[in-house]
């Protein structure tokens, strides 16, 4: 009868909104017979906490919504939906019996949070788990430098597809370099060699991973193709990763940045409209300040006129 009685570990997720703000999610500590409504936790902004019963902390307890659903942090709503449904099929109390209650509770909560874009981004920010390609650390500057004036076209190596044959470096060593750590080539200096050499090196690539791209696109592509350190969360622990299709990723990131820009713009715009009407005292102060400015101008003018007259007089003398 009691929801937690069969499950030694009862968990609760908490979602802090802003660091430092009070976080009061309730935790049910299950004892052998009844679930005692135990305590809440304040302060610390860790995403998830777990209270467990007599058995102590279980390692298998998922630590965030993404891990719970077994999806990656950049998964689409459709993937989340599919994962949610397949997990529900395993854990729903209709199928798993009463012991599935707690798990399903969490599933429902995770699903509710992640399916709505607004609450998902709030959750991501709160947990410091904004997806890597969100552009948060995108500086707007490319990696490669330019030899000579900026052109409209630039060279770009899709490092994800590069097999590390070093052909390009061999033909145009000033332009291309090898990244020893990742075993792939990349552009060091745009147009560092003769156009002919560059053409040969582009043609020599056995997997055609050297592309001519718009110079505007270059910084974004170079940013995205660099492997990003992956934060560890559960099974997707640590390491490095980069998008499989860098061009598609660039496209979506560009869109995202644009949206952010628009949102920011809207917010600023809205902010203007929402300025509070000034108080009478403020009006008075503003009036005085304005008068003072005008007087200052007049005084300066007088001053300058005075100087002028003095100068004229001295000339006449």
């Amino acid at each position: 009868m009691i929801s937690c009685s069969r499950n030694p570990a009862a968990f609760a997720f908490s979602m802090p909104d802003k660091p430092g703000k009070v976080d009061r999610t309730f935790h049910f500590r299950s004892t052998s017979k009844t679930s005692v409504y135990n305590a809440r936790s304040r302060g610390a902004a860790t995403g998830i906490r777990c209270c467990s019963g007599k058995k102590g902390r279980e390692d298998s307890v998922p630590r965030n919504y993404y891990e719970l659903l077994g999806v990656s942090t950049d998964s689409t709503p459709q993937q989340i939906k599919d994962a949610y449904r397949s997990l529900q099929k395993k854990h729903h109390p209709d199928i798993a019996g009463q012991k599935g209650h707690d798990y399903t509770l969490m599933l429902n909560q995770a699903y509710r949070t992640l399916m709505r874009e607004e609450s998902r981004s709030r959750y991501d920010t709160a947990c410091g788990r904004r997806s890597e390609w969100s552009g948060s650390n995108f500086s707007g500057l490319g990696y490669s430098s330019w030899n000579g004036p900026l052109g409209s076209q630039a060279l770009f190596v899709d490092e994800h597809r590069c097999i590390g044959c070093q052909e390009c470096v061999h033909h145009a060593s000033e332009t291309f370099e090898m990244d020893e750590a990742f075993g792939s080539a990349r552009v060091k200096v745009q147009f560092g060699d003769h156009a002919k050499n560059i053409e040969v090196s582009v043609d020599s690539c056995p997997v055609n991973c050297i592309h001519w791209v718009d110079a505007e696109e270059l910084p974004l592509l170079e940013f995205l193709v660099r492997p990003q350190p992956k934060k560890a969360y559960g099974v997707f622990g640590g390491g490095w990763e980069r998008p499989a299709d860098v061009f598609a990723a660039a496209k979506s990131l560009k869109k995202q940045l644009k949206e952010q820009e628009e949102k920011k713009h809207n917010r600023d715009h809205k902010g203007d409209a929402e300025i509070e009407p000034e108080t009478p005292a403020q009006t008075k102060a503003r009036y005085h300040a304005g008068m003072k400015l005008q007087f200052q101008e007049l005084l300066q003018m007088f001053g300058r006129l005075g100087e002028f007259f003095v100068a004229e007089e001295s000339k006449e003398k």
Binding site: D82, D94, I95, Q98, Q109, T113
Partner: protein
């Protein structure tokens, strides 16, 4: 009052199994499937507990005797299904039983080979046992509609169960042949059937219980095993108070309710199964979770109208939104009756036997006319009312639609509300599923399809059997039965049809769990005190969607004590609500220690609803006795702790 609800896989709490002198008598009472009239419901329920328990204590003896003779051959298959829940749909006018037979869902037939049986209980005087009653499922006698409408039978119990006598639906039931008396004070209505020219009183729960006993006996004979677990379908608009009454009626009949399923969600489960089978056929066992299908389910029977939207993929159907109201064929019939006979009320107010009979005849004629209007544009009504008056007239379809305009308007409103709740446009809907008896009315079909901008409705579902089939599927799934072919590999994720919350200062209703939230769910909110130095607070739990508590249903109340002394608005009282998959609501509440994250004293855990009759009075009495001394209020938004959405 302890309501006996056993846990899955447990038989009965050991403490309840203490020997009782009542038990043998109760058992004999039970096995003859007859009921003694009991003075009041309190006593009845108390005895019921004994009845149920004694039945389980002696479970093997009375029933296996009958089944032993034939079960030797297929013992193995029987043992696998010994705990399998059957699906029962008790409709306002018709009812049916279905069960998973190992490969598919099978509807049981009564001895008259009917799959859907008329829901009623006939009260007859029987000199040998004092009272005997039988309902539509009984195999002994088949009563004609004329006899059912003679006043000796109680029907439409689904419209009466769990309602107070201030309810307009109860008032509307006064034109039925049996007696429905109301005193308008918020208590159980008085209902009575005519037995030997005497109005003998009963209650809707008792009637439903008698009826369920008959259904149970019928199913036990056919399935040759004991039946204990059932999945019952209920209308979406049933509040928890009504649900408790249905559960109680089941307990009286010796049945354990595994799930109470809103009818459209049962249909959604069947839809999920059909979709999955289709996909498996087309993909030859591919991933199956590929395309999501959104369906609108419109279910209108004799008593209730429900609308639900569901998103289905990979055998999982998620209920997006539900709407329901007490509107059905009974209202259509009433409209037609008043249209045919404008002075209907004054004519039948005195209730002598002849009047009741002629009223019954008129009802039959009107019912028949409505049925025929589904296929014809006009019908001839010829009825001899017996008391010298004859009615002869033609009823046109346009006339019928005009008379029932209010019914169609409500249907339209429900569908629009449901679509808005689920944030769906008509274009998003892949299938429109029409079920229930009233879905045969041409105007309703065109209305629903028009609103969903569809040419055709979904085919492949029997309008009258869909809900009970879905209930039987749920019964099999929730009983832990698996099917190698994957026919049971599905799930309906239910949602709460109504919001749940508590009363705050000033009579406002603050929802804690919003409607259409997927269950199971657990949510909590922090409240604060309204008085300086307030040490106790009253948690008054309501269900509904009104902004003020008066518009909602009172579920129960309890007091949180040991609130630390503090100025008003600073103490923190946490209220948490938890609904499990069986739709059981628990409320946890307690005071927090000031400035810490610990509870000040042990929390309270209350299973709701805790109320019985006269719940209309309780709210007023509470306000009268305590005023606002124990009131709570919400914490301003900026101070409100983060709600995990």
């Amino acid at each position: 009052m302890p309501l006996w609800v056993p846990e899955r896989s447990q038989v009965a709490p050991a403490a309840c199994l203490s020997p009782s002198p009542e038990a043998p008598r109760a058992l004999s009472l039970f096995s003859s499937s007859s009921f003694l009239p009991l003075p009041n419901s309190q006593c009845l329920v108390w005895r019921t507990d004994l009845l149920v328990i004694s039945l389980f204590r002696m479970a093997e003896q009375p029933y296996t005797v009958a089944s032993d003779s034939e079960t030797t051959g297929d013992d193995k298959s029987q043992s696998a299904f010994h705990d399998l829940a059957i699906g029962i749909e008790v409709g306002t006018s018709k009812c049916s039983i279905a069960v998973w037979n190992g490969a598919q869902v099978e509807l049981l037939r009564n001895t008259r080979k009917q799959k859907s049986m008329r829901s009623y209980v006939m009260f007859k005087d029987d000199t040998s046992s004092g009272e005997a009653s039988s309902g539509g499922a009984s195999n002994k006698t088949a009563y004609e509609e004329k006899e059912i409408l003679s006043g000796s039978a109680i029907f439409n119990m689904k419209r009466l169960i769990g309602r107070a006598d201030t309810d307009p639906i109860v008032h509307a039931s006064k034109n039925l042949p049996f007696v429905v008396q109301t005193l308008g004070i918020g208590v159980k209505p008085f209902i009575a059937a005519l037995v030997n020219n005497v109005w003998r009183s009963t209650t809707p729960e008792e009637v439903l219980a008698i009826f369920l006993v008959e259904l149970k006996t019928m199913a036990e004979v056919q399935l040759k095993r004991l039946i204990r677990n059932v999945v019952l379908t209920i209308p979406v608009s049933f509040n928890r108070f009504q649900q408790i009454r249905v559960e109680r009626a089941c307990a009286m009949a010796g049945l354990h309710v595994l799930r109470l399923m809103p009818e459209p969600t049962a249909v959604a489960l069947l839809y999920a199964q059909q979709q999955q089978q289709q996909q498996q056929q087309s993909l030859h066992g591919g991933m199956g979770s590929g395309c999501e299908k959104v369906a609108l389910i419109f279910n209108m029977g004799a008593g209730y109208c429900d609308v639900a939207t569901t998103a289905t993929a990979g055998g999982v159907s998620q209920i997006k939104a539900m709407q329901g109201c007490t509107l059905g064929g009974e209202d259509i019939l009433k409209n037609v009756l008043y249209h045919l006979l404008p002075n209907f009320d004054s004519l039948y107010s005195n209730r002598d036997t002849n009047k009741i009979r002629s009223m019954g005849l008129l009802r039959i004629a009107a019912q028949d006319a409505i049925h025929r209007l589904s296929t014809q544009s006009s019908v001839q009504i010829n009825v001899d009312l017996g008391d010298g008056t004859k009615m002869q007239r033609v009823l046109h379809q346009s006339e019928f639609e005009e008379v029932n305009r209010n019914v169609f308007e409500i249907c339209e409103k429900l569908i629009k509300l449901c679509l808005a709740d689920s944030k769906l446009a008509a274009e998003d809907i892949n299938d429109v599923i029409l079920v229930g008896g009233c879905s045969r009315i041409p105007k309703i079909r065109s209305l629903v399809l028009g609103l969903c901008k569809k040419e055709k409705e979904y085919e492949g579902m029997d309008a009258l059997e869909a809900a009970v089939t879905g209930a039987a599927l749920e019964g099999a799934v929730a009983s832990g039965i698996t099917d190698p072919s994957g026919s049971l590999d599905m799930l309906t994720i239910q949602a709460t049809p109504l919001s749940l919350g508590i009363r705050v200062h000033g009579g406002g209703f603050v929802p804690i769990i919003q409607r259409n939230t997927a269950i199971p769910v657990r949510k909590s909110t922090i409240f604060t005190t309204t008085q300086d130095g307030q040490t106790e607070a009253l948690i008054v739990v309501y269900e509904g969607d009104g902004k003020m508590v008066e518009e909602n249903h009172l579920m129960g109340y309890f007091k949180v004590t040991a609130i630390p002394l503090a100025p008003k608005g600073t103490a923190e009282i946490s209220v948490c609500m938890d609904i499990d998959a069986a739709n059981t609501l628990r409320v946890f509440a307690g005071a927090m220690m000031l400035g810490t994250d610990r509870a000040n004293s042990p929390f309270f855990e209350v299973r709701m609803p805790t109320l019985d009759d006269a719940h209309g009075w309780c709210a007023q009495a509470l306000v009268k006795t305590h005023g606002s001394a124990l009131d709570l209020t919400t914490i301003p938004k900026e101070l409100q702790p983060q709600k995990v959405q």
